[in-house]
Point group: none
Chain length 198, copies 4
């Protein structure tokens, strides 16, 4: 099937794009780079995607979606706050802020500020991630004896903070890999527990 070939080529282009955004930065990815990395002729890139930017948007969106959905799924699988938090920090520790995945996420956040399409798609992914984290926080946060509405709002706020912490740590660790992630568990636990409502 000739159709199959096209699909496979597109997959390789997306894969190459993801790697290269991390390596060279959003604006550092060139048609030739992608083509070479994907093992195809330069013209192929524009045959399958209207522009390099289109390819980068498709690739980064797919990657971010996969990453955040995975993260949310694993977190939700933890029945208790401590376990989830420990697991999450383990994940964060696995990245040093200079690895392709970390850089791709930050590059994508920035690119989204200049590409409305990307902004919309990434926003959707991030909002869904926060919602799932919020739900998880409500489930594991038995100690928060608030009204349902209040509990939801409080969980939402904590989910925003957790997302911000993860993103922010990537930036901090990119600059200073010496940051001790394990030491953050205590304060984070306090932040995520309900006893200190505003």
């Amino acid at each position: 099937m000739i159709r199959e070939q096209g699909r496979e080529t597109r997959r390789r282009l997306l894969e190459a794009a993801v790697t290269l955004i991390g390596e060279a930065g959003w604006n550092g990815v060139t048609t030739r780079m992608v083509a070479e990395r994907a093992g195809v002729a330069p013209g192929v890139v524009h045959y399958h995607y209207a522009s390099v930017t289109d390819l980068l948007v498709a690739a980064s969106c797919a990657f971010a979606e996969r990453l955040l959905d995975e993260l949310a799924r694993h977190l939700a699988a933890h029945p208790d706050l401590d376990g989830g938090l420990t697991w999450l920090l383990g994940q964060v520790a696995a990245y040093d802020g200079a690895d392709p995945a970390s850089l791709l996420m930050t590059e994508t956040y920035l690119a989204a500020q200049r590409l409305p399409d990307l902004h919309g798609r990434l926003r959707g992914t991030v909002v869904r991630f926060r919602r799932e984290v919020s739900t998880w926080l409500q489930v594991v946060g038995r100690e928060a004896p608030e009204t349902d509405a209040g509990a939801a709002a409080a969980a939402d706020a904590r989910a925003v903070l957790l997302a911000a912490v993860v993103d922010g740590l990537v930036l901090q660790r990119g600059l200073d890999p010496g940051v001790d992630v394990a030491a953050l568990a205590g304060p984070l636990r306090a932040m995520l527990r309900g006893e200190n409502a505003p």
Copy 2:
């Protein structure tokens, strides 16, 4: 004085660079853009700086330094945690994540991953910021009856988290300006207070 003019020109170039990194992105700033914005001829850029990158590094470093030092100074001026935290959140709320200053900070973090010089300088600035925040946290955190060494380590961890939260919120708000910053005060206070040590 001919020296004076050169200084003024350099100042204008740095100012233009700061604005443009925010507007167009680190890699989107061109020689001619800077020159036009600064009101000088294109050749002037390379007369004063060896390369455009050099100019961007100088401009972004100076800006980051000014911003973080200012932030630390204001924070340190608050005698209590709550006041400082409230002030800080007010600052964060003032940025929407899509403003030049926010974008410049993130752009600079990213650029630092590919420019060793910039990495070193920015790292120094950020580490100093965290140190000052840590000191302040120890000062205002009377409720943490730990040993000095333990208190310092705990404050360091919280300073890292606070820096990460600020950076991360910029990213989150850039994507979703609807994030309610005020609602974050409660959980953040819990995070910064000492009662929930690991």
Copy 3:
């Protein structure tokens, strides 16, 4: 019949080409444009025609031939000069110089300067048109009491002028649609009548 399908496809390609030469200009027509407009896959164009140029030549020649033959036929059907002239001006008025048919004719004239094949074919069509107009002018021009040879030469000259006027008006009206075609009848009648022989 498989042959039938091929014919139909070719017809659709020619039709698409005619439209697109007018819309996008001779050099603006691309393989993919034609294929899309004709509702076929890109490869089909080169299956039926050796090159895009070949298709354009075939399409534009066929169109020009049809148009000029039609024009000559209608003109010849008029038994008197005034009637024919009025009808012709009505035709010219129907085009505004910016419509696909007008543009296609001019595009084809120009393309013929660089394509010997096209030049030969178009020349034949145009010369035949002028010959038929000349014949008609002799038939309706009873007022010219010249010798046969002289009458033929005079009619030829007037036919050239009439063809030039039609072509030239298309250009003039393309630039300035306000040109009043009806007002041209008087001077044109004078030009076509025989009383003012050289």
Copy 4:
């Protein structure tokens, strides 16, 4: 003076563009062609003009303006219709419809249909030409005993026709250089004289 150099370079670019539009056609002119013909590096074209199209518009407009103004000026210098007409036909005979100047004019008419800027500028030039021809026709057309308003309208119509004839003859001669221009004087004189008002 460094400013002088730029002016001279621009002049050479315009000159090269004029020649090349005639030789290769509006869409056949490439950056490299122009640069080579003008004897400059390829980048220079875009240093002085935002795009190749911009250069072509500037060059073709300037050329058309010069040509038509010259034509009108010479025509107006003739005190009688016959003399002017004879001179004009001599000019037309000098072009064979395949020369750069003829092709450039037609190419420009066509390009104007797709470039609003060019359309406006060329329209202005052509309208001015027709106005000047019309004025001349009124001056030399003593035989037209019409009211002033009627005379003006009649002259306008004849000016349109004369412009159309010139443009149209370029097209006809491009296809069939055998067209005898001298033989057209008689009918044209009849067309331009006032005795055959509608």
